[in-house]
């Protein structure tokens, strides 16, 4: 299958390491991800809370530019907005017309959109990934944290089971890690309230961190830039507010998979993580 990559804004900023590790893993697996030229922001939450038409027009403009190729996405928020636009535009000729009046392009809502986890688990396949693993993550106990927008609502994303997704767990197993079952896979981290009302994020990330520890995890693995930064960067603030030190490394799945594929830590952006993962990796001999 032929893809075109929509990085999304975070991968050029706070989640630069997600972008870097995605490119490294793709190269190692022979997956070509050429970037969509002149892509623009999907509008994210700000657009859908403010202007429903703009919230469809911004993704539509990008999807129309993909030239019929499958759009590959890493950020869960971008994924949600692109999929929502496809869902609404393809379901209603009236919506399609109104979006076209804004973008100047009659887009039919049918450009396929896949998250990198879907590409890895379904298109490339777990067997092929396992065959590329040279340094299996043996003995590493991970909890996979999917957050909200990959699996919800399932009628729109069609990603995996909405309450108990397994795609990331399965990729981690293929990388040799021990994927622990836990109940907080799709709980919310508070997203952009990290900026507008951090008390929401501290309360929610504390719940997730506490459950990860109770499940016996060595680390958390994520697939969304906002989830990652909230769970990673806010651990210090959670410690200050609640007196609970977690010190749990929070990886992108591409970083752990990259290690399993034998890639150098420097090529995976591990230094960008706030909670230093090196002691854990050293203890596990990776």
């Amino acid at each position: 299958m032929s893809y075109v990559f929509y990085p999304g804004c975070s991968l050029e900023g706070t989640a630069r390491d997600f972008g870097q590790s995605t490119m490294a893993v793709a190269k190692a697996l022979g997956l070509e991800l050429p970037e969509l030229p002149d892509w623009t922001c999907c509008g994210s939450t700000a657009a859908h809370q403010t202007d429903p038409l703009l919230a469809l027009a911004l993704p539509a403009k990008n999807l129309a530019a993909a030239g019929g190729k499958t759009v590959a996405v890493c950020c869960a928020a971008c994924y949600s907005r692109l999929k929502t636009a496809n869902h609404e535009i393809s379901a209603s000729p009236d919506v399609r017309r109104r979006v076209a009046e804004v973008t100047g392009i009659d887009y039919d809502g049918r450009t396929p959109v896949l998250h990198l986890l879907e590409i890895l688990a379904k298109d490339i396949g777990l067997a092929k990934i396992a065959a590329h693993v040279t340094r299996p993550l043996k003995g590493l106990r991970v909890v996979s944290y999917y957050g909200c927008l990959l699996s919800r609502p399932p009628e729109i994303t069609n990603f995996d089971n909405a309450e108990n997704p397994m795609l990331m767990d399965n990729v981690m197993k293929a990388a040799g890690a021990e994927a622990i079952d836990w109940p907080h896979k799709t709980e919310c981290c508070g997203a952009s309230y990290s900026i507008t009302d951090v008390s929401i994020v501290l309360a929610l990330t504390r719940e997730i961190l506490s459950m990860a520890r109770a499940a016996g995890a060595d680390c958390i693995v994520t697939a969304c830039p906002l989830c990652q930064i909230n769970l990673d960067m806010r651990q210090k603030d959670v410690a200050k507010k609640f007196g609970e030190e977690y010190n749990l490394p929070v990886f992108y799945f591409t970083q752990l998979l990259g290690l399993a594929l034998g890639l150098e830590p420097a090529s995976l952006g591990l230094r960008s993580l706030v909670v230093d993962p090196m002691p854990l990796l050293a203890a596990k001999d990776f």
Binding site: C9, S10, E12, G13, T14, A15, R16, D17, D38, W39, T40, C41, G43, S44, T45, A46, A47, H48, Q49, T50, D51, P52, L53, L54, A57, L58, K61, R98, E101, V102, T103, G104, C148, L149, R152, P153, P154, A162, T186, E187, C188, G190, A191, S192, Y193, I195, T196, D197, V198, I200, A203, L204, I229, M233, R271, S272, L273, V274
Partner: protein, 201 residues
């Protein structure tokens, strides 16, 4: 006299229900008040109006109460309510609609910075095409006056290369500006139509 007043209030309530249904596409009458939305909501414990109560209040036409609620600015848009509703009431879309109506009616509850954040976010992507986190944070701090929040994070984020120093450059600035302008005009037209439709009923 009192009958006339009651009739007027009943009409206003019905207009509001029709307006919210049109804006959100959520079939409000289908709600059974099972409260599954509230049970799964990550912020329901702190909410002034819990999700299932929000739906009920809209059904009852309690316009001012819902539009000035704090809840609509604390909802994280996590979509759990929408996903789990057995009656397919899209509560997340309802909340989005209430946010827009709240702003349009000047009813936004004091203390929330979410509308300011959203405005700066959209202005940034209109101008640059993509997010510029340094610019967004600077504008947001200046507008909200909360200059010291998270300042300790900046050196760390810079050292860990989590912040791009320079704004992005994406071609097509003029076309982008026109797209935003056309969206704004279309939304204004739709809003006027929805209001007129509500008043006719």
């Amino acid at each position: 006299m009192s009958t006339m007043r009651e009739t007027r209030l009943a009409n206003e309530a019905a207009d509001f229900v029709a307006l919210v249904e049109a804006e959100s596409g959520a079939p409000l009458a289908a709600c059974l008040q099972c409260a599954k939305c509230t049970a799964g909501c990550p912020v329901s414990a702190r909410a002034d109006i819990k999700p299932h109560v929000l739906v009920r209040l809209v059904q009852m036409g309690q316009r001012d109460e819902v539009l000035s609620s704090r809840m609509i600015w604390e909802c994280t848009s996590c979509q759990t309510c929408t996903t789990r509703c057995p009656q397919k009431v899209d509560i997340a879309a309802l909340t989005d609609a209430l946010r827009r109506l709240s702003r349009a009616a000047g009813k936004v509850v004091g203390g929330t910075t979410v509308p300011t954040f959203n405005d700066i976010f959209l202005r940034t992507i209109r101008r640059l095409g993509r997010m510029y986190e340094m610019g967004l944070m600077t504008s947001f701090k200046l507008r909200t006056g909360n200059l010291m929040a998270d300042v300790d994070k900046f050196p760390m984020m810079l050292a860990k290369r989590k912040l791009a120093l320079l704004p992005p450059h994406v071609r097509g600035a003029a076309e982008r500006k026109r797209l935003f302008e056309r969206a704004r005009r279309a939304s204004e037209r739709a809003e006027a139509l929805a209001k007129a439709g509500g008043e006719k009923k």
